[in-house]
């Protein structure tokens, strides 16, 4: 490096950019910067117009990108509890079992599949676990009698986090109370699961009285509000299931959930009470798989993968808000496209300005070249002149948008409880500034390239 900047002031110290100097030749970046400054002072309105274009583009793009972030937050908040989950179960082949002979039923109970079952079901999932009271009781899901599924599916699903955010086993069984003849459903779940259980069954937020279950609890039950009212149950009440006593620890109102039951137990307690109602005990089994998809946009892929895992093809999904997800995705894409378009327009404006400037300054460029300035230095000079308004405009736009964003409450305007992620603002501002600078450089490149295309005499002649 040959220069030490000795002057103070607003000129940036370019010593550190020695590598760039070597690329440009012997003319220092400081010289180029000062020369660009002269050009700026000579045509301040052109500079201001060009910088304003970049400022508007950066501010607009920042606002649009924040709207995009907001849109994604809203999508997560809105669809996260309704559209990104489903339950998996296989409808039971009860017609086959109902026609089985006592001998065949005994075969099932001992674990041997009768020939007639094999004809009907490619994958037998637990006819031998059929209820003792086939007429009144069954494994159910959404009022449909179901087969059993292996618990191993939970881990299989969890191994694909790109598609599935979570999965949890669920047991749901319809009981028959022979004392008074009423039927009710018992659900068994993992209370510690905070991903797949809350949208599919219930969560601590649904408790309207008492407390929620915890993993490891035993002898405790939650009851749905409607069932509690109908049966006169309250927190502390006792209820008996398959001869086991349970204390009501809480009353919940879970709304519309695919796994909604009258009584909720831990998975282990549910297994225990159900085992007394079926021919042979459950072993690593469930009848419903609760699944949470990674994002609403991956619903299709997740369902397809789920069908592959299930193999039998008997999958039933719970309400997916795919159209909404697709519309949101479309909206996100449009916002992104608008932001990109804005940037391209700003760069085009910059290009037009630079080309106009080049036409006016043909002779000056010829003079510099006649004095021995190399093409790379002339290109560097023109790029510097083009980058300056990009940088200045980008900075102004980024500052303006950063200051304005906190006061533009998208929550207020949309009513959707998902605001701007303020931590993202500096990142987006930096990206906006860098984009404007890059836009300025790109806009100047064609003009710079054209400027050195002819012999200097041509440029000195044409003015």
């Amino acid at each position: 490096m040959r220069k030490k900047a000795s002057q103070t002031g607003c000129v940036v110290y370019f010593e550190m950019l020695g590598g760039m100097e070597r690329v440009l030749g012997a003319v220092s970046l400081r010289d180029l910067f000062q020369a660009a400054g002269r050009e700026t002072r000579r045509r301040p309105w052109r500079f201001a117009a060009c910088a304003a274009g970049y400022a508007i583009a950066v501010a607009g793009a920042m606002l649009l990108l924040c709207a995009l972030v907001f849109s994604r937050h809203a999508e997560t908040n809105i669809l996260g509890s309704t559209g990104t989950h489903f339950i998996v179960y296989s409808p039971a082949c009860s017609d086959v079992v109902a026609s089985l002979t006592p001998t065949e039923l005994a075969m099932l109970a001992s674990g041997t599949k009768p020939a007639r079952c094999a004809e009907k079901c490619k994958v037998c999932t637990g006819c031998n676990k059929k209820p003792l009271d086939l007429k009144n009781e069954s494994f159910v899901a959404q009022q449909v009698d179901t087969k059993l599924l292996p618990l191993g599916m939970v881990d299989e699903v969890k191994r694909e986090p790109d598609l599935f955010r979570g999965a949890s086993a669920f047991l749901q069984y319809r009981f028959y109370d022979s004392d008074d003849g009423h039927r009710f459903t018992v659900g068994g779940f993992d209370p510690d699961d905070k991903i797949a259980v809350p949208p599919g069954v219930c969560n601590a937020g649904d408790v309207i009285e008492g407390a929620f279950l915890h993993a490891g609890d035993t002898g405790l039950a939650l009851v749905e509000q409607g069932y509690a009212v109908g049966r006169g149950l309250r927190v502390g009440s006792m209820l008996t299931l398959s001869g086991w006593p349970f204390t009501v620890i809480g009353v919940v109102s879970s709304g519309v959930r695919p796994g909604k039951s009258d009584v909720y137990l831990t998975f282990a307690d549910a297994e225990k009470v159900i085992n007394r109602r079926i021919r042979s005990p459950l072993f690593q089994e469930m009848n419903v798989l609760l699944v949470e998809v990674s994002t609403a946009q991956k619903q299709d892929a997740a369902l397809a993968r789920m069908r592959e895992i299930l193999q039998s093809g008997l999958i039933t999904t719970f309400a997916c808000y795919q159209p909404a997800a697709q519309v949101l995705g479309l909206g996100n894409g449009m916002i992104l496209a608008a932001a990109v378009l804005l940037g391209v327009l700003a760069a085009s404006f910059g290009l037009k300005t630079q080309l106009a400037s080049l036409r006016e300054r043909r002779r000056e460029i010829g003079i510099l070249r006649s004095l021995g300035w190399s093409r790379s230095v002339v290109i560097g000079q023109l790029l510097m002149e083009s980058a300056l308004p990009g940088f200045a405009g980008g900075a102004a736009g980024a500052i303006f948008a950063s200051l304005a964003l906190p006061f533009v409450s998208l929550e207020y305007w949309t009513g959707v409880p998902a605001g701007i992620d303020f931590a993202m603002i500096p990142v987006i501002a930096a990206a906006g500034l860098v984009s404007a600078l890059a836009g300025g450089l790109l806009a100047g490149l064609p003009a710079a390239w054209l400027a050195v295309g002819n012999p200097p005499a041509d440029q000195l002649r044409n003015f």
Partner: protein, 229 residues
């Protein structure tokens, strides 16, 4: 006069401009040479191609035919960047219309030719100021060209050429727009460069430059270079 090889040697240089389908010949088989320490004056009427010849000799333009060697280097084989280096290190050109940068002040215009060198800013400034003072415009350093008289602009142009200490000076009417006193001053500076540093000086003029100050005088007429009578 030096007895070493010529500083510049042009052989059979041809150049024509095109206007639509019409070709306008400007230079026809022009050959010349200038030795180090020699002053060659080429005179001719306006429009005969004097400035074009100077542009070609300075590597600013390309001839249609012929060869030009500067300090032994055939410039037809050089790239644009090599030509720029040659101009920067060897050639100084004084343009007829000065060709000053309008947004650069007087001292910055002179410095412009030094920016591509190895000098630091302070030395650059010192040399530029020194030459402007020698040419009598030390009090107009910060003025833009538009704020200078034509004669002052010409002196800035001369200072810009001489500050780099070129070994080949190509001057296009260097005294065309100045009063006789200033013209004599400029000529003395140019001649000093020839005497002190052994530079070669090629001046083209339509008559404003005193031809008696040249070692040789040639006349450009209808694109052909002739010995002056």
């Amino acid at each position: 006069m030096s007895n070493v090889g010529p500083m510049i040697e042009a052989m059979n240089v041809r150049k024509a401009f095109r206007s639509g389908r019409r070709e306008i010949p400007v230079l026809e088989n022009v050959s010349l040479s200038v030795a180090p320490g020699e002053i060659l004056v080429i005179k001719g009427r306006s429009g005969v191609g004097k400035s074009t010849l100077l542009s070609i000799l300075g590597g600013l333009d390309l001839p249609d035919a012929g060869s030009i060697c500067i300090n032994g280097v055939e410039i037809g084989t050089l790239s644009q960047d090599d030509l720029a280096t040659l101009r920067r290190k060897t050639v100084g050109i004084i343009f007829q219309n000065f060709n000053l940068l309008p947004s650069w002040n007087a001292v910055e215009n002179v410095e412009a030719v030094l920016m591509h060198g190895d000098l630091d800013m302070a030395e650059r400034r010192r040399r530029a100021v020194s030459w402007l003072e020698r040419l009598g415009i030390g009090d107009r350093l910060e003025n833009l060209p538009a704020e200078l008289s034509v004669g002052q602009q010409q002196r800035v142009a001369v200072a810009r050429t001489l500050v780099n200490e070129p070994t080949l000076i190509l001057a296009d009417e260097p005294t065309g727009d100045v009063d006789p006193e200033t013209g004599a001053e400029i000529i003395s500076h140019l001649k000093a460069a020839v005497r002190e540093r052994g530079a070669a000086l090629l001046v083209v003029t339509h008559g404003a430059y005193p031809i008696e100050s040249g070692d040789r005088v040639l006349t450009l007429k209808n694109g052909v270079l002739e010995k002056s009578a």
